[in-house]
């Protein structure tokens, strides 16, 4: 196995603090160097916040695991300088086909909107993403990435946490003002702080097989309900780079995980699916079961949770890694401001408010898809099959809307967030307070550029037309003006259209590229109040 990828082995290095035997206080310790922990580290570096990342292993993810990356994740990762590389290596796709038995039931187009830098969805093995991130981290001297460091205990103090860490050189103690646990669905940190992790457990098992084959299938997502080659169950096919194809077989609850993982069990299944002639090699396989659940609070004292450690979803809809990336996108700017004393700790609590809301939205979507894909009773199965049969009727558009093979990940707007300033003026379109900013092609100094690359990191006042000030401040935090017509041009008018802008319209944008407030005129007093609100001050 593993013909297409060579796993790097990262060196274990004993830290000076362990060697010297002194207890050092760190501003931020991130536990887990998976995609979410690594994203958090890069985001910390982007905010000039030094951090230590601890991982109990010394390589990247084994197996392809999270393979679908959606536009918003790619935009966040582009801000962190790895998105472009992912897009270049990854496989873009936009068409999904759903089959019922031996027939095409319907197809959907992700309908990627033009004039966005990032595509709607790419497929890329998780190990590539992690490898690119580790490389990028190597360029940041303030990220201290430590392999073979396992956290075995956490003690919470009033204003910091004390970690016991085990390395090949034994145990030592670290202190951290803040700890960010990104240690996955089976998070041991979650257990250490006594957090609850509840939700719905699904009595079903799935087999993931990554096979290498030269196939001329179009780059599409294919999903089968009850296909002849795997009766009564579902199958999902996805293309990845390096001629690797991900096949996901539903097995049912009675399947024996250890048996089903054996090549002699997998190969006949794949052969039945592909037809006998096609040659393939098995790259990686895994049997999994899943639950849809989330942590009761994303913050326990000085310990914060992100990614699968905070919420676990079914794989249908690509909501795992994608929502994890949005967690850290939401958190790191807040941590930076709180650590620097520029915002009260209440700003950190807005992380739980906003991301728990998003997690619940994801869990709802994920649970619904799972209920459709794996009906829990004979009656729900009849309804599911009725939907699929009706969907084949060319005229029954409504039934195609009901087919749910996983609603693909889209960011959840924080529409009720306490950081938002509600609209006073009338606006049309999608850019309501709490929404992630839409991208648009712009020009900067006569050169073609993308809007999202012009914002983020700090607060921005996007002003359509001349602004009466260069920035607006609250305390030490300034929102700098980005003036359309002066700093950036909007040659195609896409920016103005997406933001429903008229001359004088101004938007207050957060460091994580979300809309905080908007007005039809530039009113400094109102902007200051909105900025204070966005800082939870």
């Amino acid at each position: 196995m593993f013909k297409t990828y060579t796993y790097p082995k990262f060196p274990y290095v004993q830290s000076p603090e362990q060697k010297a035997g002194n207890v050092k206080r760190h501003k931020l310790v991130i536990i887990g160097a998976g995609p979410i922990g690594l994203t958090a580290a890069l985001d910390a570096a982007a905010h000039d916040l030094p951090c230590v990342v601890l991982d109990d292993n010394d390589t990247v993810s084994v197996g392809s695991r999270a393979v679908c990356y959606a536009k918003r994740s790619l935009e966040v990762l582009d801000r962190l300088n790895v998105g472009q590389r992912m897009v270049e290596k990854g496989i873009g796709w936009k068409l999904g086909k759903v089959f019922f038995k031996d027939r095409l039931s319907y197809q959907f187009d992700l309908l990627p909107e033009d004039d966005n830098k990032m595509p709607a969805m790419i497929n890329l093995q998780q190990y590539y993403l992690e490898e690119y991130m580790v490389e990028e981290i190597g360029r940041h001297p303030h990220i201290d990435l430590r392999w073979k460091h396992k956290v075995t205990a956490i003690e919470q103090k009033a204003d910091h946490a004390v970690l016991t860490v085990e390395t090949p050189d034994g145990s030592f103690t670290m202190e951290a003002d803040w700890v960010l646990a990104c240690d996955g669905a089976n998070s041991s940190v979650r257990t250490m702080v006594g957090a609850q992790f509840t939700g719905q457990f699904f009595h079903d098992r799935f087999l993931i097989a990554d096979v290498i084959m030269k196939a001329e299938y179009p780059t599409e997502r294919w999903f089968w309900f009850d296909p002849p080659f795997h009766p009564n169950q579902s199958v999902l096919l996805h293309r990845q780079p390096d001629d690797v194809w991900r096949i996901d077989f539903q097995l049912g609850w009675d399947a024996d995980a250890n048996e089903e993982k054996k090549p002699e069990r997998i190969i006949p299944r794949v052969k039945a699916m592909l037809g006998d002639e096609r040659e393939f090699e098995l790259e990686w396989a895994s049997v999994y079961q899943f639950a849809c659940r989330r942590i009761d609070n994303f913050r326990y004292g000085r310990v914060l949770f992100a990614g699968d450690a905070a919420h676990q979803v079914s794989p249908f809809g690509a909501r795992g890694a994608n929502t994890g990336v949005q967690d850290t996108d939401n958190l790191l700017w807040k941590l930076k401001l709180v650590i620097d004393g520029d915002a009260p700790v209440g700003l950190i609590d807005s992380y739980n408010e906003e991301r728990a809301f998003a997690a619940d939205d994801n869990l709802l979507n994920s649970t619904r898809a799972t209920d459709f894909i794996t009906p829990k009773s004979a009656s729900s199965r009849l309804y599911r099959d009725a939907v699929l049969q009706l969907a084949e009727d060319r005229d029954a558009e409504f039934a195609r809307k009901l087919v749910n093979s996983g609603r693909l990940s889209k960011p959840t707007p924080y529409i009720h967030s306490s950081l938002n300033t509600p609209d006073e003026d009338l606006f049309a379109g999608a850019m309501a307070p709490g929404t992630n900013c839409a991208d648009a092609p712009v020009k900067v100094a006569g050169q073609e550029a993308w809007f999202l690359n012009q914002i983020g990191g700090g607060f921005t006042l996007l002003s359509f037309g001349p602004a009466p000030a260069a920035s607006v401040s609250f305390g030490r935090i300034a929102a700098r003006v980005l003036e359309v017509g002066r700093d950036i041009e909007d040659p195609k008018g896409v920016l103005a259209e997406r933001y429903d802008a008229k001359p004088g319209t101004v938007y207050l944008l957060r460091p994580d590229q979300h809309v905080s407030a908007r007005w039809r005129t530039f009113d400094e007093a109102k902007i200051t109040r909105a900025l204070a609100r966005a800082l939870a001050a």
């Binding site: 009849l382 309804y383 099959d385 009725a386 939907v387 049969q389 009706l390 029954a396 409504f398 039934a399």
Partner: protein, 63 residues
């Protein structure tokens, strides 16, 4: 709009016969499958969520 419970179909004896006859050639499984399709088709036609919810309730469902 609340659910219409007054007679609303012209010649309901004829309607009822048509409903029963439509499944006369089916076994139980086929009829159950058809019933599900019928519910989905009619629910979409009604469209009004409150009316559908009331129907679910009156039919004995947990809402």
């Amino acid at each position: 709009m609340s659910l219409i419970l007054n007679p609303n179909i012209d010649d309901f004896d004829d309607f009822y016969k048509e409903l029963i006859d439509s499944q006369r050639h089916m076994n139980d499984a086929e009829a159950a499958q058809m019933n599900c399709k019928l519910v989905l088709l009619l629910a979409n036609h009604i469209g009004d969520r409150a009316a559908i919810r009331e129907a679910l309730e009156r039919a004995g469902g947990a809402v």
